[in-house]
Symmetry: C2
Subunit: 654 residues, 2 copies
């Protein structure tokens, strides 16, 4: 760690004062504001963060102990492997993701609840010490390989997940490095030693192959950024470039499963396993950016475009296949077999957010739109209200009510059931946890001219546009229940500053006005979708107020999506709504066959209640009868919280 | 073999003169006419039988050798297992199915080409000798289990397929027993010894479990019938009754995968793995019939009803899931992920045909309809025109043209590709082969009062309704190209005889007339769909002529099937048609995006050409343009015979 940012091409800001954020590229159009700069102070996401911090983290920690996935490291240290090992080949990674989640949570609580932050840090340190004890002298770290009775190191790249696990270790180390930049955390040292070994084993002259599950790319690149080690970024680039040339074995589903069919820079769309594809794309953006590889970046942008248009559910979910957890072909988006893995949604956010940071301006809002859509309708859908059970896949159509999961039993991921406490493959719970804990970093970005507010939540934002040019903002909103977003200036430098806000693609009819102390409020002006900006010399107390039309709306599907022809979806703001059979109770349609219902789109959707509890009702009819009922729809993210139910997002309209 | 039919409750006809047919129940409303009684003399199915006999059988025999699946038996005999073993755990069964196919082919050729029949028999005998050498002293026979270095016998019932393999051995032995009832074929002795061991191991006091893949039930029941061993039928009943009580381990997809979730007699619909479900149902009909268990039979009839209505594709295909090769829920029938495994179609025919033999009359035609639909649109679809490559699954919507399979390379079953020569799991090719070779047995049934013609092909039928009451018929038809079916009487007993013909459910407007030598032809009379019968004292030369309306028709989907809302399918007679992108070439739509096309249903379908080469064209339009073209549609069974193509069966109609 003797190199400095200036020598490495990394940002000239000291590594020790990098934003407390998951992505800090060497260059870019705008930078993420980190956890020290943004605090979510209330509303939808603050609730999620609170439940995550109070319940989910300990829930995950408990299950990791209970299933022996942390104890695997103890066994490794004590010579108890392979006999005593429990869990699948990638179980180490869940421990790393948990540690990453705790890091961000510590960062989130540092200012508001330092006692709790210290307690969490101590708990994480104890786990890290157990991981450290398992690391071998040369830096090798994996509980599944390399010992007597185990397969040799790097011998099963297709399915072994060794490099995948390290990628998660590196992301975890990055989080701790940024949250505690001066503390010399042990996990950072573990990661550094492992990364050095990876470079030795897989460098230019090393094993000419890649991991069957991309993740090391994004992990190595960010570790390189966080530690000022450009050679890590270079190794990530090597991995990105090697893939796609058939370096891995052909398998039943073809090499497209792990994106080894086509080189990244030649591909035109994401394909194969949806989590693998998005992790790879995110890592490829990282290396393209840090190496100024415009061709690669352009290729990734166009892959994002086609994937967003043709291979993404209305919820933001990705991956249509249960069999191989993979994207389907263009327009292959069946509701009833939507796999839409929670982790694929998170991975897609990682990909979108990285492009957002690089975009010259035109597409910033589109990336932000998909991030928002996916946050509300995939990531927020996964956890139960109590934060102790999760959807692994997120179907858009539940024909037969699923079974209630036993809160004390590990669930198979493929089974049709309500949210479950833990899975044999339990990637999703810690992935949700690390995303929620770091969510503040997705709220806003900044460049030298101002701040871009991209996701809406009550929040405090405090940053410097450049040394000495501090900006402090307070965001007040009841979003997504209501469409008014007020950005109040609490501090601003002299000279013009630009405040930009995202106007989502669904928000036709949005308007903005400026309210300042020394003049009457500006006339509200209509704004196009995209980014809207107000540039002026702001005074304390000035407000930029954006009003988005939060009204329920029907949306017809793209006619090329066969599976939902003749249906509509109800949305309000960023939220997708669902018809749940439990809501037929007490209506004229109680007990009706769910397959016989359709929505009468000639009857306007109606809002009932107000504020955050406002709901939407639709006129639902039963085929072959004159029966009709005004049926409440629920936000998709809150479905299946009232017991087993049939459910559909796309509702037949005739 | 000392028991006689009379003692065992089996038909009083001597076992040695049982019909040369796969299903000969102890009782029933009508009996299959066997290969000695029915010969298909020309047309669609005779072509398939010829290609099957001339090419497919040797193709299969060659691949079984090449992959070492027959050599596994040699290794077993020579002590070379487990080291040298090749193939999956169920590879023995493919050898048995091949031997069964050869048996039926020998039966088919006995009269017309005895030299070829003898040659085939000799070839089969040689393979059987190799199988025999692998059988252990106590009758145990499986190349995967029980030796040093292998898992113990019966230790992996969930996935081991030991009993499944034996079920296929038994069906093969049944075929040889019926084709060569007096020859004491070695395979019959092998099967008898294996069956006796199964009874010892799994009898009342034996292992209280079942095989993860049903098949032993239908095999044991028929072997019991063929050899006059009612205890085999009783054992099959034990297996049927045991299943459904959670006797097998729970697995990721749940016990419904192998029908161990609900007892057969309590189930309301087929579910889980579609081949397993249908094999089980077929075996359950067998034991229900032979033990006069009306409750069980009633349950199976109602399972068939719901499955046919709600879980069956328009092609007759069953099984919507790639992941677990399973049925979906009711109405879950996506075209683009239709698995519709060839073997599931064959298994469904086995189930339907067994119910047909038992039905009191009302539903005979409906069972025959589904058999026909499945034969033309699943079984006939699988093999390539040359009989040397096969579809494993039968999608109804190919978005992106599949890859051409290398005729020299084993294919993974799940890959989107054209027909392939052989698969790692190669159940389908020999299953198709045994079905084609025995197809004559599905043409007609008989009871004491007459003959029921159920499937239409040029054929000669000769049987005795009862001792001394011989009937001989010639069926003349160009079906399915043309709808006239003439059944000419070549011999008939004195007294009234009933000739019955199936009028398919799609054949509204069908008519029948009788043409006799001594009177003017009877007035053609309109007949309802179902079975139509003519009862009279027939003279030689009399003709019953049925005319079915073979005209192309649009059919709209059931509105409860989400995946095909807003589409139509084109059918003509029993054939389902498909739109194939290669047929856009040379039209105004050449090069158009396949996803943008829809059919203009206001323009009548048009027949072009005549006779067996007659085709159908439809007016196809391109969304967002005024482009339109008259595009030929192809029978679904012949799609993908002209290279890679996009294809769809259900075509958007707006």
């Amino acid at each position: 760690m003797t190199t400095t940012g200036a020598e490495t091409g990394l940002p000239s800001a000291s590594l020790a004062t990098a934003p407390v954020a998951p992505v800090v590229p060497a260059r870019g159009a705008r930078r993420m504001l980190g956890l020290g700069e943004v605090t979510i102070t209330g509303g939808f996401w603050a609730d999620r963060q609170r439940v995550n911090g109070e319940h989910t983290l300990s829930h995950i920690g408990d299950w990791l102990e209970r299933e022996g996935w942390i104890a695997n490291f103890d066994l490794a240290a004590a010579g108890g492997l392979p006999q005593g090992r429990r869990g699948r080949e990638f179980s180490d990674s869940e421990v790393y993701k948990y540690l990453e989640a705790v890091a961000w949570e510590v960062g989130r609580l540092d200012a508001s609840d330092p006692a709790r932050a210290a307690e969490l840090e101590q708990r994480a340190d104890a786990v890290v010490a157990r991981v450290a004890a398992a690391q071998q002298a040369d830096g090798y770290l994996n509980t599944m390989f390399g010992r007597e009775g185990q397969a040799p190191r790097w011998s099963q790249l297709e399915w072994g997940h060794e490099l995948y696990c390290l990628g998660h270790l590196f992301q975890s180390a990055v989080a701790w490095q940024r949250v505690r930049p001066t503390s010399h955390k042990e996990i950072v040292e573990i990661a550094r030693r492992s990364a050095d070994l990876v470079l030795e084993a897989f460098g230019e002259a090393g094993i000419q192959s890649v991991c069957g599950h991309a993740e090391i790319e994004v992990g190595l690149a960010e570790l390189g950024r966080a530690l000022g080690r450009p050679e890590y970024v270079a190794q990530a680039l090597l991995f990105v470039e090697r893939r796609g040339h058939g370096v891995l074995a052909d398998i039943e589903w073809g090499r497209s499963y792990y994106q080894d069919d086509i080189p990244v820079r030649e591909a035109v769309v994401l394909r194969g396993h949806a989590v693998r594809a998005n992790y790879l794309a995110a890592g490829a953006v990282d290396v393209a950016v840090d190496t100024s590889d415009e061709d690669l970046l352009t290729a990734l942008v166009s892959q994002w475009e086609r994937t967003a248009e043709r291979r993404t559910y209305v919820t933001g979910g990705q991956g249509s296949h249960h069999q191989d957890e993979a994207f389907g072909e263009d327009w292959e988006l069946p509701s009833d077999r939507a796999y839409s893995e929670t982790c694929a949604g998170i991975a897609s956010i990682m990909f979108s957010e990285r492009l957002l940071l690089q975009d010259s301006g035109e597409n910033v809002a589109r990336y932000g739109d998909l991030v928002e859509r996916t946050l509300y309708n995939v990531v927020a859908t996964s956890p139960q209200a109590d934060g102790r059970a999760f959807f692994y896949s997120n179907t858009l159509h539940q024909r037969v009510p699923g079974a209630v999961s036993d809160p004390d039993v590990v669930s198979p991921r493929a089974r049709s059931a309500l949210r479950a406490p833990w899975f044999e493959v339990s990637c999703c719970p810690p992935n949700v946890a690390r995303t929620f804990a770091s969510l503040a970093a997705y709220i806003a970005t900044a460049d030298a001219s101002g701040v871009q507010v991209l996701q809406y939540a009550p929040a405090r934002i405090a940053t410097e546009l450049s040394p000495g040019r501090a900006v402090e903002l307070t965001v007040e909103t009841e979003y997504p229940a209501r469409g008014v977003i007020r950005v109040r200036v609490d501090a601003a430098p002299s000279g013009p500053v630009t405040l930009s806000l995202r106007v989502p693609a669904w928000a036709a009819g949005a308007s903005v006005r400026t309210i300042t102390g020394d003049e009457t409020p500006s006339q509200s002006r209509a704004v196009e979708t995209g980014m809207v900006s107000v540039t002026r010399e702001f005074a304390v107390g000035d407000v930029v107020e954006l009003t988005l039309p939060i009204v329920p709306r029907f949306t017809a599907p793209d006619p090329r999506v066969d599976a939902i022809r003749g249906t509509v979806v109800v949305q309000r703001g960023p939220e997708v709504f669902a018809l749940e059979s439990v809501d037929l109770d007490g209506t004229a349609l109680e007990g009706a066959d769910f397959a016989d219902l359709f929505v009468d789109t000639s009857v306007a959707l109606r809002e009932v209640g107000s504020g955050v509890t406002a709901g939407v009702t639709a006129a639902v009819r039963r085929r072959g009868t004159s029966e009709v009922a005004d049926v409440p729809l629920v936000p998709y993210h809150s479905w299946a919280n009232r017991g087993p139910s049939s459910m559909r997002v796309w509702i037949p309209s005739s």
